[in-house]
């Protein structure tokens, strides 16, 4: 492996954005590896958490954004509380996911039709992911469906969430085996509870989007 470090391969603007979004100083990482040492998911990652920091320090954007690591991070924050340089690495991981997802945030639904359209679009998109089955598409897919649910109902409606996720992610039968147990223990509701101030929720989503666009 060889990395060329020059104006074409490194992206200082990207690093600056990560620093701004996360509020963390990327340069302050001194590569002691304490984050990776305690990370519960490290062994499933393609780049260890400290390596993500290293690539960021060098400004190698694409490798960071293409890594499974940022999607595998469980946000458990073990790294953040132990970092001797007081870097909130979980925030850095969040920022990387935020930056990576920003584009897809643009098209969130606000009525039934666009919700369906959104699901369909993502279904098409995820047909490509089915072949890849990568961590990135899974989490992104889940995040969207989750937020769509809040966006639409105001709360999360689990059966629909899992159903949509399974359809969209391509893991069609994943977690279905759990459904009978859940039903048996009456843990699943059949109808979503919709909050009364749905319009307000939708406004929150719109304004967040608007303000984020302004910031950029």
């Amino acid at each position: 492996m060889k990395w060329a470090l020059n104006q074409n391969t490194t992206d200082d603007g990207f690093v600056a954005r990560v620093e701004k979004t996360s509020g963390q100083n990327i340069s302050s990482c001194y590569q002691c590896g304490k984050c990776s040492a305690g990370c519960p998911v490290c062994r499933d990652m393609d780049l260890a958490p400290n390596q993500i920091m290293r690539f960021l320090q060098l400004g190698i954007r694409d490798t960071v954004l293409a890594s499974r690591t940022i999607w595998l991070c469980a946000s458990c924050q073990t790294c953040s509380i132990r970092c001797p340089q007081i870097i909130d690495l979980a925030r850095v991981m969040d920022s990387l996911r935020i930056i990576s997802q920003r584009k897809e945030m643009e098209s969130a639904p606000n009525d039934w039709q666009s919700l369906l359209a959104g699901i369909w679009n993502r279904f098409k998109e995820s047909m490509i992911y089915i072949l890849q089955m990568d961590a990135r598409s899974n989490l992104r897919c889940f995040n969207h469906i989750f937020l769509d649910s809040i966006h639409y109902y105001g709360r999360v409606f689990e059966p629909a969430l899992i159903f949509n996720y399974n359809i969209n992610s391509g893991y069609l039968f994943s977690n279905f085996l759990k459904a009978p147990v859940m039903l048996l223990k009456s843990k699943i509701k059949f109808l979503p509870v919709e909050v009364r101030r749905r319009d307000k929720v939708q406004k929150i989503f719109e304004r967040v989007k608007m303000m984020e666009r302004e910031e950029e």
Binding site: I81, Q101, N143, F146, L147, I150, G154, V156, K178
Partner: protein
């Protein structure tokens, strides 16, 4: 009567309804008045903070307005909701600019005077230990409990409050108060992978195995939790874990509020024990001499 605003969150109305039930029952017995925030909305959980920082602040804060107007602190039993609410409040208190932004988004004037508490903090407040102790009717001394805090109750440091984020003690103190014994084990605050349960089931499964195995090896009879995500993640997969580890794992994963409820003799049905997937009945029958007929429903 102490009054608190109550934010159940989505889980406590579905997969964690037993947490909701037991929480309310225990509070009633202790003379704590929980008033559910009217028309609350989802806190956004992980998907919000991994997608948009502003959204992860605006959703929780929009739920705090009512409590602020009422002059109440908020009890959020779900660890994820608690974490999101607490972090959002901390950030808003720290940064005036962020507060202005969030206020613009929610179109309300939130000042940030509300304190967010999880039940562990609530039951460790002031004289609560003494009150619980006075109410204990059942001898729980036969049970060894592995108190599991997971990530969201212990991290980051400033949400854990005065508890130590690497060696939290609050749940252990409560469990000891009701007469049961606790075990010292290394997975107290290790991640169970619940946030990956749907998107990365294999990774989550490995982490579940580690936690359950460690509890078993340290001689626990059951695991006590204060987080719906941890509960369902550790509870649902025990048969697969048994297959995988090649040993029989049957560790009821109960909400610590259910244990308090049992100890102080609350009507078993009101504790929602039947909703647990790994049945705890034989454990309580054997070790506490309790008849669990009513609980089984």
């Amino acid at each position: 009567m102490t009054k608190y605003a109550y934010y159940p969150g989505c889980s406590l109305h579905s997969v964690a309804k037993e947490y909701d039930l037991s929480m309310k029952a225990v509070c009633r017995a202790l003379g704590i008045d929980l008033i559910e925030i009217p028309d609350w909305i989802c806190c956004g959980s992980s998907p919000a903070h991994t997608t948009s920082h502003l959204l992860s602040l605006a959703l929780p804060i929009s739920n705090c307005i009512w409590a602020e107007n009422q002059g109440l602190d908020i009890i959020a039993p779900c660890a994820s909701c608690f974490s999101r609410l607490k972090i959002a409040n901390l950030e808003i208190k720290k940064d005036g600019k962020i507060r202005q932004k969030v206020n613009r988004i929610i179109e309300e004037e939130y000042k940030g005077t509300v304190d967010i508490l999880n039940p562990l903090q609530l039951f460790n407040r002031m004289d609560m230990h003494g009150e619980i102790k006075n109410l204990v009717k059942i001898d729980m001394s036969g049970i060894k409990v592995a108190c599991y805090y997971g990530c969201l109750l212990s991290r980051p440091g400033d949400i854990a409050g005065e508890d130590d984020c690497e060696h939290p003690k609050k749940m252990d103190q409560i469990i000891t108060t009701i007469g049961a014994s606790t075990c010292d084990w290394q997975c107290k605050t290790e991640c169970c992978g619940a946030s990956l349960a749907i998107t990365q089931p294999k990774v989550a499964f490995r982490l579940v195995c580690e936690v359950l195995n460690s509890a078993m090896e340290n001689g626990a009879d059951c695991i006590a939790v204060a987080c719906p995500l941890c509960q369902s993640n550790l509870d649902m997969r025990q048969s697969e874990v048994s297959d995988h580890l090649g040993k029989d794992i049957h560790l009821p994963v109960v909400y610590f509020t259910q244990l308090i409820g049992l100890a102080i003799g609350i009507n078993q049905e009101a504790l929602g024990l039947k909703h647990l997937i790994t049945a705890p009945f034989s454990l309580f029958e054997e070790k506490c001499n309790l008849s669990m007929a009513i609980a089984k429903g």
